[in-house]
């Protein structure tokens, strides 16, 4: 178990691409942190530097105050779970899980190995299939075995690189809750790389949002969702993307930043539809397209030439072409500076 501290971490690839740019991050001992961002944002490179697969161009990595930047991957006691479950299909589940112990030196006694395998199998819910051949498992169980393989060596830090992206949607939803429970039970520091904001939001204690090699925001899921630091985070987090409309700051005659160009951001679920001439309506729009998602609808509107989305209930569905009024939940609207893209208070 360990705290991870990344200090001014920079990685520049030959050819000039700066994959990670001056990254400062503290991952507390025993916490579950997600590195979230679009592909090419530097999240995988960051993880590879933590594991030692890549050497940083500059900066330091500390595990519990110990600088480990120069240590080879094998000496770092980190456990990996990859997107493609690396398991040995010619071995049984027990053999797979115990593999790390059997090759470790000094090798624990047979009874000790058996005890540890049993412990892990209980945590993962693999108890009933320990003798089964790994090739006969479902894809979903294979990923659990892969998890068990890394857990058994009791690494100080757990690194997971999009481990669920090959699983089907239903099992992914199940594993999300499972992994969160497992992490609570074993209490190891987990770093989870994903491009899926739903996974990051639902599991992590803290999320580091990255884009173009830079840290955009580091905070709890709640902070990211309700108080995004900049426009990128606001647009990236949330299953139906935040609406953005151009705005101008009007502070009265003596305002300092009067006329400053801003962007108003509001989440689709914080807008209500109303009659086009309703008094409380802030803006009016025209229905362009309706996406039914079962439990809810996403209604696409045209608001003064800008695309705009509102979450609707399937029972009260407008028709395509209808004119509607929009009522904003003013407590939930955000402002972003157009120059810096940073969130503006008030």
């Amino acid at each position: 178990m360990a705290e991870i501290h990344l200090q001014h971490l920079t990685k520049q690839f030959p050819g000039g691409l700066i994959a990670v740019n001056d990254l400062d991050l503290v991952i507390p001992d025993g916490s579950f942190v997600a590195l979230l961002g679009p592909s090419g944002c530097g999240k995988t490179t960051t993880m590879n530097m933590i594991s030692g697969l890549e050497k940083p161009t500059s900066g330091e990595i500390y595990f519990d105050e110990q600088p480990i930047t120069r240590l080879p991957p094998g000496a770092r006691t980190v456990g990996f779970v990859f997107q493609n479950y690396a398991i040995f299909t010619h071995m049984s589940v027990t053999e797979n899980i115990s593999f790390g112990l059997r090759v470790s030196k000094p090798r624990p006694s047979e009874s000790e190995i058996e005890r540890r395998v049993g412990e892990i199998a209980d945590i993962l819910g693999l108890r009933g299939m320990l003798d089964r051949n790994a090739s006969r498992l479902s894809v979903n169980d294979m990923q659990k075995v892969a998890l068990g393989r890394s857990m058994i060596v009791n690494p100080a830090i757990f690194l997971l690189d999009e481990p669920f992206s090959n699983l089907d949607a239903a099992f992914r939803a199940y594993m999300r809750a499972e992994l969160k429970r497992i992490q609570h039970e074993v209490g190891q520091t987990m770093v989870y790389v994903t491009h899926d904001q739903v996974e990051a939001m639902s599991m992590a204690d803290h999320i580091a949002v990255m884009d173009a090699g830079r840290l955009q925001q580091y905070g709890t899921p709640d902070e990211l969702y309700n108080a995004p630091a900049n426009r990128f985070v606001a647009g990236f987090v949330g299953s139906t993307q935040m609406n953005f409309l151009p705005a101008t700051l009007v502070l009265g005659e003596h305002g300092a930043g009067n006329g400053r160009s801003l962007t108003l951001g509001i989440r689709p679920e914080n807008v209500q539809l109303a009659a086009p001439d309703a008094a409380e309506a802030t803006l009016a729009g025209k229905v362009n397209l309706i996406e039914p998602l079962g439990a809810k609808d996403v209604i696409h509107l045209d608001v003064a030439g800008h695309g705009f989305r509102v979450v609707g209930t399937p029972g009260k569905r407008p028709r395509v072409g209808d004119n509607v009024g929009l009522v904003f939940d003013s407590a939930r609207q955000l402002l972003f500076d157009d120059e810096t893209t940073l969130a503006v208070d008030g």
């Binding site: 920079t10 520049q12 700066i18 740019n21 050497k55 161009t57 500059s58 120069r70």
Partner: protein, 310 residues
Amino acid sequence: MTAVEPELTVPGAEVKLVAPRRSVLGLLRPLARWATILFLMLLYGFPLYWTVTMAFKPPAEWNPPGTIYWWPENWTWDNFEDILGLKEQEGIFATGKSRSAIPYIENSIIAATGGTLLALVVGVLAAYGIARFRSGGRMLPFQILQLRMFPPIAIIIPLLFMFVYLQLWDTLWGLIILYGAVTFPFVVWLMRSFFQEVPREISDAAIVDGCTHWGAFFKVVLPQVKGGLAATALFVFILNWSDFLIALVMTQDNARTAPVFLQALQSGSAGQEYGKQAALAVILILPPAIFGLAIQKYLVRGLTFGAIKR
């Protein structure tokens, strides 16, 4: 975006990582590395150096007892003139010009090129069939490779009789057929892996777009493996070009190739004619080298196929 400090991007950063253990040994390491590289370069480069310089040495410097000429003392084009049949013969029995290697070089060019083309046409089609349609099942590729496991000398005697009977012995056609047959397995194996890298959907797309299977192959698939095709062609051409054994047994004079002629360059008075052999060897290096340079840009792609993200 702030600029990264430039000195950190140079390879010196790696040295910095081993800094705590830096010592005399650490400083010697790059030195030892360069010394090794230099030694290997000399080791591999020396025979080539010796051949090229030998081609310009007069007979007295070829192989005199007790001395070694590291460098031609008296530069001469005599060896080349001799080998190209431009030189007046000397000696008691000499009549007219020297014996020219040009007809044998011509034979070599025709046989090697013809054999290469034959192997490519048959091999590329076979490789596509195996890669795309799994023709012949799982074992066929191995069976084809197995053909190459035979040392040609093991079957050369029956082949000799067969070719004499078929009247293909000592003909260029006979050589072309043999060269094609011997190098065909290489073409199949190399091209199969190149074809496997082309997504199946690309030829499917062409078929849905209105091509025939042949059309899809020539218009869409083949252009994508041209790098691999170039590399394979060069490899096979070099094999055929430098063949000695088959040509030695299967030809006499009419279809004799340059490597066999080169071996036969000796005379009663001078013994092995090293200078002339070297001159011919230098000439024989040229065609593959020129071929290689001509297709260089495809070669780089062919050999790094798959490593490049497309």
